[in-house]
Symmetry: C2
Subunit: 570 residues, 2 copies
């Protein structure tokens, strides 16, 4: 029987609660959204006592189905002031599920003390952890592993989370036990910090794991999935070699890679920060570095990597497309080593590299530092870890910094910085960024593979379909890259859910659940005060043509508004 683990930081209690029946087929993003809607006043202050932070694996979490170990972290966002879910790979999602826990819900107003939550087969407890305050994720993780063993999984925040900064993400242990996987976006680390929870330590040893209603059928579908992933060009060939970093050259060729604070869509030094280049560097430098590497147990795609220095010593793991573009082309830093060092600082302090890259781009454009100045970037990121006034300002993200600098170009939707796909040259991402309840978020239905990216035609409809599809994937706890294969097989998904839970689900399950998740989020945002006006596209994206294609965001507000208005046929 699955249960909720409720952590009340005011009472300093932990309790296991039964899961209401109607939550049965909700997991991951769908579950975090639903709990927020049912339990949290949408008007609350994101960093105040009335917000909650929820950690939930998907409904396939803990199973042996490939790539189903994503952990969703949800709360009202201090960055967007709306609903937020950010999910990460690593080992925590599976372990929570294997501990029989459907979600960990942290709530209440904290005392001055800091705590960690420790969960194992015997139960859960809060432990005083004031001595862990002000540690970066790397050192924190080492200390906790020394104490609780090498096999635990850790969910943690760095200094940025402690200071409750909206750029703060939540770190999750990878397969090597390092805090390298990130639920980066939307300031989930700040909400965790606002609850004075420095880490959650998960030990699933001695548990029985999840049960199956029909294990044979489940296993059978898993075989199909593995075969599908292996045969797919992206998940079976390109990603295993290069990971997401292959997108540098792809998106650069599309003219959609953010360059110098979104002033250009292609980067003259793209080759120097490309996935192909990184592949060569890793092969040459060796060390711990391998070209491919899984982020979750049992993942056959293995798109992760470990990036070494010239001596073969690990600088950071992994280097992902988003980070490479946002720190590389967007800040005009044509150096993988430079990017890796910034990435490492962000991981240690617990900072979302996307929001940081957008923010530093705004700072560069505003004359605070020069484009390409890696050393100054390091200094500024370090200010965040110290909680200085400058650090706290940068820690608010791109939109606030743009306001402070009086910048007319504000690269954000609903307060969240635009990720590494400029929508002026990838027009399916116009309705995505504008209407997603999450703000500018490429993980909610990226249109990278939608044909004819420069034409606005049909993109609103395409985005609706993609957003519904991803909402379902995020409810399953499935990796969105595996979703490239599995997403196209609603029959497989139906079978997996039925054989895991012993419940009949309709043939329309995938679409139903996707719409339900989105609707839940939209209702939360409406209660939080969002209106259709908040689906606006930043002015500069509508006016300023993006080289080399010199296109702008040219889908009308009226059309965009219909994207998630499911009553309207598209």
């Amino acid at each position: 029987m699955q249960k909720f683990l409720r952590v009340d930081v005011r009472k300093q209690t932990v309790n296991y609660d039964p899961v209401p029946d109607e939550y049965k087929l909700l997991g991951g993003r769908g579950l975090t959204a639903r709990i927020l809607l049912d339990e949290v006043d949408a008007r609350c202050s994101p960093l105040g006592e009335n917000n909650k932070i929820i950690f939930a694996p998907g409904i396939l979490g803990g199973t042996k189905a490939p790539c189903t170990g994503r952990l969703s972290v949800g709360a009202k966002s201090p960055l967007t002031q709306g609903v937020k879910e950010s999910n990460a790979g690593g080992t925590a999602g599976h372990k929570i599920a294997r501990l029989g826990i459907k979600a960990i819900i942290v709530e209440g107003k904290p005392s001055d003390d800091w705590f960690i939550v420790v969960v194992n087969k015997d139960g859960a407890r809060l432990e005083l952890a004031n001595e862990l305050v002000n540690l970066g994720n790397y050192e924190l993780s080492e200390k906790l592993r020394e104490r609780f063993g090498k096999k635990v999984s850790i969910i943690s925040i760095g200094q940025a989370g402690e200071y409750c900064l909206p750029v703060a993400g939540v770190a999750v242990s990878d397969l090597e036990g390092k805090p390298n996987r990130y639920a980066g976006r939307g300031g989930m680390g700040a909400v965790m910090g606002a609850k004075h929870i420095k880490a959650i330590v998960l030990d699933d040893s001695g548990t029985e794991g999840v049960s199956y209603h029909d294990k044979d059928t489940f296993s059978d579908i898993c075989k199909h999935i593995r075969k599908g992933l292996a045969e797919n060009q992206i998940t079976g060939n390109v990603f295993p070699q290069y990971g997401t970093s292959v997108n540098i050259q792809v998106v650069n060729a599309l003219g959609a890679i953010p360059t110098k604070n979104f002033r250009y869509g292609s980067y003259e030094h793209a080759e120097m920060i490309s996935g192909e280049k990184m592949h060569d560097v890793i092969m040459e430098r060796g060390g711990e570095g391998k070209t491919t590497h899984p982020c979750m147990p049992g993942c056959p795609i293995m798109c992760s990597n470990i990036y070494p220095d010239e001596q073969g010593k690990t600088i950071v793991a992994p280097m992902e497309y988003e980070t490479m573009a946002m720190f590389g082309s967007n800040l005009d830093i044509p150096s993988l080593d430079g990017i890796a060092h910034l990435n490492k600082l962000c991981n240690d302090y617990g900072i979302d590299t996307i929001e940081m890259g957008v923010t530093l781009g705004v700072a560069m454009d505003g004359g605070i530092l020069a484009f390409g100045d890696v050393e100054k970037c390091k200094e500024l990121i370090t200010e965040i870890s110290k909680g200085t006034l400058v650090g706290r300002l940068l820690g608010q993200g791109a939109e606030i910094l743009a306001k402070v600098l009086g910048a007319e170009r504000v690269p954000a939707f609903k307060g969240q910085g635009i990720p590494a796909y400029d929508p002026r040259a990838l027009k399916g991402n116009i309705p995505l960024y504008a209407t997603s309840p999450m703000g500018a978020d490429h993980t909610c239905g990226n249109s990278l593979r939608v044909p004819d990216p420069l034409s606005p035609k049909g993109k609103v409809k395409a985005s609706r379909k993609l957003q519904i599809g991803i909402a379902n994937i995020d409810n399953l706890g499935l990796c969105m890259f595996a979703g490239l294969v599995v997403g196209g097989r609603p029959d497989w998904i139906k079978s997996l859910v039925e054989s895991r839970y012993g419940i009949d689900v309709p043939d329309t399950f995938v679409e139903d659940i996707g719409k339900e998740v989105l609707t839940t989020e939209l209702v939360f945002n409406e209660r939080a005060g969002f209106t259709k006006d908040d689906n606006r596209v930043p002015e500069f994206l509508q006016k300023e043509p993006l080289p080399p294609h010199n296109t702008v965001c040219d889908i009308s507000h009226e059309e965009i508004r219909q994207c998630l208005d499911f009553g309207t046929e598209l």
Copy 2:
């Protein structure tokens, strides 16, 4: 015939336009609001090309009626994102009226160059003024007076305005030609800076001045007003001796003086920063210092002052209650000299002392500097003048800083910092701050003289009446202190308007025009996206009892909402 002077900074042209008939009885705040509503897209970016900044004397501007020389400065506010009018004494209001100008309207998108506007009896022109950039108001004023003569009046901005910071005010020459009078609130200096206008130089020599339809009647009423002002206890006795600074002891005794970032309502060192103390210091130190001093031509109240150092040399003029409380009790700086030096820096850089005092209080509460640290305050204010990242952050005002620091206590309404009357102990100011289209603004209907300040009873009704009354006063261009006497005589006001303009106005003129002005402003704000929800009271004011009376803001949101809903009888 009165006309508009339109300055188009894009075309670099100046033009005199006729004034539409329906604007005839609108002046000052009423006129700036109406022009904004009629000509400016309420959704525009306050610092963008579509905003306009309007300088307008009241409808009695330029006349010999006492205290009618106020200059209204209006624009969409970068601080509140809504309509804003801030008015100042000094000599500019009268001179604009005497030049036959009903309002100066600055519009358009600026070039990279900076300009001054020069207006005299022969016309107006733009002059290149790049060499004046980065000057503080004091040096700027000296240079312009050297060039254009000692008798000109100057409207100008300091460095804060150049950096387009929402704390930036607009300085206006006083009777000695010093830039000592301020339209401080709401970032009007930022909008002027966004238009690249460093100053407006007004020379009314050789003009005929304003005409009267019935000069004898007008003069007759003026005599009554002078007599009324002389006989009134405040305008005839207390203010001539102490000016507004007398309120330190008054508001301290009420328990409503902001102390240590609005944590207390009385200050243990109130006496050290009191008006009585200042009076003694000025008398003792002498120099240019006098105890009383008019801010506008022909003002019999003479509530201004000049504050000298120990050698009798002027530090700053004037020291007003708001500045003394916001820098004194709110920052725990029990030193008139300390306050005077901060005041001087703000005047020079063109910074609103109220918003700065609230902002520094938030910074102190957030641990950025210690309460009472004058030297660090000077440093931080100086950062603003340099446009550093820290300076630009502080230049956003209290609400943004509170957000950046993650402070739960946000002492602002509609983005504007609370002035020196804590509404928890002066409850008539709860509906005032909450519903005024200007945000937290004591000049829009301060309830200081409403009986029983600790009781919420009847305060919404009282505030409606006060807000209507002040809107009328601001339309006349009358000083609100003179309004204490004149406001109670609608018959005088009717006579003044009729004898000045030769138009019959109804007996209900005062109330009609007050409601019209407020309604115009409310419609603008509605178009700008404000809802009734924006009339909310900050949470900490509702929850945190204010010593010594330990009261909170306890008027319901429902009741507050009715304050300016003129369809509802109160």
